[in-house]
Structure formats: C-alpha cells, structure tokens
C-alpha cells in the first residue's frame, strides 16, 4: 500500500468527556472519560485498525473523527484543515470525503425508504449532478458492492443481513469519499458472510484508493484488514504499531492478554498452558484507575504504575507503547522506566 508523508487524518490529544449530571439543576457531578487524550495519524491508502474491549472509547473515537460528536478537547485535522469545532454548515461539503459504515445493518437503514432512495440520498443532499442521472449512478454502485441493480426499488427488509450491510457500504461509497470510518462493519454478520464483506472492503479499497479506519473488537478480523493497529484501553491508546509487529511481538501487557484470550480454532491448541488470563472486568470509565489505567488487571504492575502515567513512547520504529515495563522491548531497556523507578 502506498503511503505518502502527509497524513489524511491527524488526531491530536483528542478528548471526549461526557458530563454526568445530577438533580434538578443538572449540576455536573462527574464525567465519563470516554476518550481521554489520544493521538494518531492516518495516511492515504492505508487501513488503521482500532481495537479494544467494550467501553474503551473506540466507537466514540470514530464518531469524534467524523464529527458526529463534538470533541471536548484536542484537535482533528482532515486534509490539513482543522475540523474540531467547525460548524455543521461548513462541515457539510466535507462529509462528501468522510463517511461512516455502521455496525448494525438493521437499524442503520430507514425501513420506509427503498434501496434507491437510501443510496441516492447523498447525491440529493450534496446536490451532486451525475452524468446519466442519479438512478444510473446508484445502480452502478449497487453493482460495485455486489448487489443486483434491479433491486433498486426494494425495501431493506427484503434483504439478508449481509446484503443490508452491502447497502450501507453502497451508501457510504456513493460520493467517492476519501476516508471511511467503519464501526464494527462485520460483527453483526454470520461467519461466511463476514468473510464476503471483508473481501469486498479490501477490493473496494484497491479499486477506489480508499483510506479506512476500522473499529472492531475482533482481533483476527482487524489483523486481516489493517496495515496498522491501535489498541485502546479505557479511553487511551496503549499501543500502536504496524500489523506485523503488533501481532508478532506485542509490547504492552494488555495487547498480550488480548491476543492470548482469542480462542484458537485448533483442538490441539487448548492443551497450551501458557496463556495469559486477565482477572476481573474493565474498570468503569467514570472513575478510571489513576496513572496507568491497566495496573488493576496487570500482572506486571509495580508501584510506579499506580503513580506515574506511562507516556506513549516510540520504542521501535513505528511501534509506540504506553507501558513502564514493556515486553519484547528491544535492548536497552526503556529509559523512563529505569530513570523514574
């Protein structure tokens, strides 16, 4: 995949704190720190995978980047333009270039509209003129995503889950966007259909030169489609690296635990005893643990982890980790851990 030096999307210290209010006067008593200062770049033509467990803020990140939510801090820069607090009116033309694929193909399509209306809507909203009319353009896109163009006048309920997801993808592609944020694009689908949609996303990327940010909880799907992967935990990025490095030599203990928790479809594999099992659940983002947020579940945690927050540091080329005691770390041992302990 070709990547140029200028990032298509650049996110800096992005924050979203949802206020928690109480009483008649809606006094703010706290905040859910859904996303708490994350930074990453997405380059043209690449796929960035965003993984984490529920509540880690990955979906919120997707919605912040597309400005479906207003960030409470930080910056989102798209093609060199700061869109963090841009007004809806100014954003509208940008929406052509930045689209979203949603998780649930059942609730993200209006049941009262035909496929033609759904996929054609972007043309009408953006006032885009097409050479042979909107209908022709829509039918071309339907063909592109593997649907029958004759189904133009059908309603969403007449389609299966996989086909509905294809309709969602067709709508996303209608105006040839540059960046697509896909929030759990395949998790609602059956295994065999999941593979079809994953292949479709890859084909479309090659054909249309798309850039993806894929948000998912399934580590194997993310490995399959991503070039680079960011692992999130409680509103923070704990590790970001290219796919190969992250899966073959993960440095953050959480990434290690996540990878080792995935059930392997091989009956012989279950005999292995060296798997890492985390205890307990993810703490509430309303009141996240101080300093390193993973210390409550981490088997390597020491006193420093409870007091000093580890910065996201580049320990190998393109491999950034936020941990005091990273695994698989290249020699010499990281300076911060040695200096502060």
């Amino acid at each position: 995949m070709t990547t140029s030096n200028e990032p298509l999307l650049s996110v800096q210290d992005l924050e979203k704190h949802f206020p928690v209010t109480k009483g008649l006067l809606k006094r703010q008593v706290g905040a859910v720190k859904a996303v708490d200062g994350i930074s990453f770049d997405v380059f043209k033509g690449e796929t960035l995978g965003l993984v984490g467990e529920s509540g880690c803020g990955k979906s919120t990140t997707g919605r912040l980047v597309t400005r479906l939510l207003e960030p409470t801090g930080g910056k989102v820069v798209f093609e060199g333009r700061d869109i963090t607090h841009m007004s809806q009116g100014k954003l509208r033309p940008l929406r052509r270039d930045m689209q979203m694929i949603f998780q649930d193909p059942f609730s993200s399509l209006n049941p009262r509209h035909t496929v033609g209306t759904i996929v054609g809507a972007p043309f009408h909203i953006q006032g885009v003129q097409t050479e042979h009319g909107v209908k022709k353009a829509v039918q071309d896109i339907l063909q592109l995503v593997g649907l029958n163009p004759e189904h133009y006048n059908r309603y969403p309920h007449e389609f299966s889950g996989g086909q509905r997801q294809r309709i969602g993808i067709a709508r996303t592609l209608a105006l040839k966007p540059k960046l697509i944020i896909a929030d759990e694009p395949v998790s609602a689908l059956d295994v065999s259909i999941q593979a079809q949609v994953v292949n479709l996303l890859e084909d479309l990327q090659n054909e249309l030169d798309l850039t993806y940010v894929v948000i998912a909880h399934d580590l194997s799907v993310v490995r399959h489609i991503s070039d680079r992967v960011a692992v999130m935990y409680l509103g923070k990025i704990v590790e970001i690296a290219d796919r190969k490095r992250l899966y073959s030599s993960p440095m953050h203990p959480y990434t290690n635990a996540l990878l080792s928790a995935v059930p392997i479809p091989d009956p012989k594999a279950r005999a292995d005893g060296d798997r890492i099992r985390l205890t307990g659940d993810v703490p509430s983002p309303l009141n996240p643990p101080p300093a390193c947020r993973f210390h409550t579940r981490c088997w390597k945690a020491q006193d420093i982890c409870k007091t000093v927050e580890p910065p996201l540091e580049e320990l190998a080329s393109g491999h950034r980790v936020a941990c005091h005691f990273p695994e698989n770390a290249p020699e010499p041992a990281p300076k911060t851990a040695a200096a502060t302990s």
Binding site: D190, V191, S192, A195, V198, V262, P263, P265, A269, L278
Partner: protein, 344 residues
C-alpha cells in the same frame, strides 16, 4: 456401546407452521451424548441450532411448533412425556445458559432471589438454606464477595459477572445436562476467555454432559469433544473435534474454516468465504440444501439437486451428508482445500 447413551436424540424434527408455509427449523437431527462429554453445535444463524436446544428442554410446546422424533434423556423420552414431568426435569436434570444474561434475568429480583427460587422449586429446603446454597454457588463461579453480591440486582453486575451468575443459576440444582446457547457471544474477549475456562473447570467438577451452541469455531475447538455442523436444519457433518478441524469432509465445513481469519497462522491475502447466503427454511433448496452455494456441486452428476444425501459414516464416528464420493472428498480436501487453508 451396550448401554443406551445418557442423551440420545433420534430423528428430531421441529417444524413451525406460519402463514407463509412450514418452517422446518430442525429436520431429522440425531446425536447422542455421554455424561462428562461436550458436544459443540456450530452453524450460521437460522441453521436450527438454538431451536434444537430449546426443543430438548421442551420449551416448544406452543400451538405452532410441531415436535416429533425421540429425545431420550437417561432412559426417558422427553417428546412423549407430559409437560408437567418435563417441567420438573427442567432445572434439576437439565439446565440452560442463555446468550444474553441481561434479558434472561429478571430485572426486579435480586440475583440471589432468582437462584434461591430455582433451588427451592426442586428442593424442599428453607429459605436460609437455599440462600446459603446461592452464596456458595456464586462463590464457585468466581463472583467476588458473594455474601454481599447475592443481594445485588442484575443491572449492578457487569456483563461477565452476569454471565457467571447465570451459570451459577443453571448449576444450582446440579443438572446432568447443561446446554449453553452462545454463552460468550455477548462478552468481551478477555471475559470470554475467563468464562470458557470456568465452564471447562465446572464441567469436570460436576461431570455433566454439556452442549455448547455457537457460531464461533474457536470456542468449539476450546471445549468440545465432538462437533456437529448444522446447515438448514440438518446435520451435515458430525465427528470428533480432530475430525472436523483436521479431516473435514463436507464442503460447507471447508467454507466455514476458510471464512475465518486466524490468529495462529500467517495472514492470508484473501479470505475464502462460502458464496451466496444461507437458504430460507420455508423454501429449502431441493436435494442437498447446500448445493446452490457448493463449489463442487457440478461433480455429483446432477444428484445434488435431485436427491437429499444421506448422512453416512466415512470413518468410525465421523458422519458426512454429501453426494461426493469418499474418494472425491478426500482428494479435494488433500489437493485443493487443505493446501489453501494451510498457507493462511
């Protein structure tokens, strides 16, 4: 085996009459299971796996459901037994773990009360004894501070803890048959790993027969001794976990294996999905229900469209429902499918 197996399902059919026609959710399913063993049932949505589990528990007694065949549990036929009798067995002899613990627990009653109620229906004991038992069970499934947590409500639990409470409830009467329907689908991967470990340990401890229903081949591989692959209400392949993962013979099983991105192998360029979509259960394709999606259906001399293939023994304990001959299947697997899957 001379003795009859603990659970023996013979030619089970569960049909529903609807306005559009008869939905043959389960159509002639047979399998058996011993105590202490685990059977994994895999299939896509609509293949009839959940309907089977509800059928075994006798929960399809409505007017629209038509259950036929035989379900022998420890020498008793559940299909012909009275509803009252099956109700008494349910909970005590057989129990179920549902997919979504939030919607299958009562939000108004505390977790403890729900376990106590289930226990007292089957055991004539006082409330305080049952409460002690509930606390005991919650501790067994790994809920911290069970004495305090017994009075919590389901919404106060996290997803993983709710699923643990659900397992505690299912195990409270020491059932001999436990059916888990997608027990970890709603959970995060680290919590899923905890629950799978827990289920494996508890099964060893209680020596119960376990049926685990899932679409995730990874989960089945972790737990099952035997695996049953369902497609359109029928068993299309049955065998030991090793048979299904190392020597699968049905093209649909190959398709499932090829659809999965795997973490334990080098990443492939492309996944190999099964083409097309699962069939409607009202208009099941003629002949082999899988033939419209099967890449090898043209190698059966037109049989695949005309005739429903029989479930035949290919090896001892390994059954396949396919028109391709044994040699054809083995050659295809060795020469075409396996090399592609293994380079993944």
């Amino acid at each position: 085996m001379s003795e009859s197996p603990f659970l023996d399902v013979k030619d089970l059919k569960i049909h529903f009459s609807t306005d559009d026609g008869v939905v043959k959710s389960v159509d002639g399913l047979s399998f058996s299971l011993e105590r202490g063993k685990t059977l994994g049932i895999v299939g896509e949505s609509g293949s009839g796996k959940s309907v089977t589990s509800l059928g075994i528990l006798g929960l399809h007694r409505g007017k629209s459901a038509n259950v036929s065949g035989e379900i022998w549990l420890d020498g008793e036929d559940l299909v012909t037994a009275s509803q009252e009798h099956v109700r008494r067995l349910r909970g005590r002899k057989m129990a179920m773990i549902f997919q979504d613990p939030l919607s299958s627990m009562h939000p108004f009653y505390s977790v403890g009360d729900q376990i106590i109620e289930a226990y007292r229906i089957h055991h004539k004991v006082s409330k305080s004894v049952a409460r002690k038992h509930a606390i005991d069970m919650l501790g067994r499934v790994g809920i911290p501070e069970p004495k305090r947590r017994v009075d919590s409500y389901p919404h106060e639990f996290s997803g993983g803890m709710r699923q643990r409470a659900m397992i505690a409830m299912a195990l409270s009467c020491d059932p001999e048959l436990l059916i888990a329907d997608e027990p970890t689908t709603a959970l995060d991967v680290t919590v899923q790993a905890q629950i799978l470990d827990l289920m494996r340990d508890l099964q060893r401890e209680f020596n119960s027969a376990l049926i685990i229903i899932t679409h995730d081949l990874g989960v089945v591989a972790e737990l099952s001794n035997d695996i049953l692959v369902m497609y359109a209400g029928k068993c299309i392949e049955y065998g030991s976990a090793e048979d299904i993962f190392y020597r699968p013979e049905h093209p649909y099983t190959w398709g499932l294996l090829g659809s999965m991105p795997r973490l334990d192998r080098e990443p492939t360029e492309r996944l190999l999905p099964v083409k097309g979509t699962p069939p409607s259960l009202i208009n099941v394709p003629s002949g082999c229900a899988f033939h419209p999606r099967c890449p090898y259906s043209d190698q059966t001399d037109g049989q695949s469209k005309a005739e429903i293939p029989a479930l035949i023994n290919t090896d001892p304990g390994h059954l396949v429902r396919c028109h391709l001959s044994r040699t054809q299947r083995r050659t295809l697997w060795e020469n075409e499918v396996k090399p592609v899957l293994e380079t993944q």
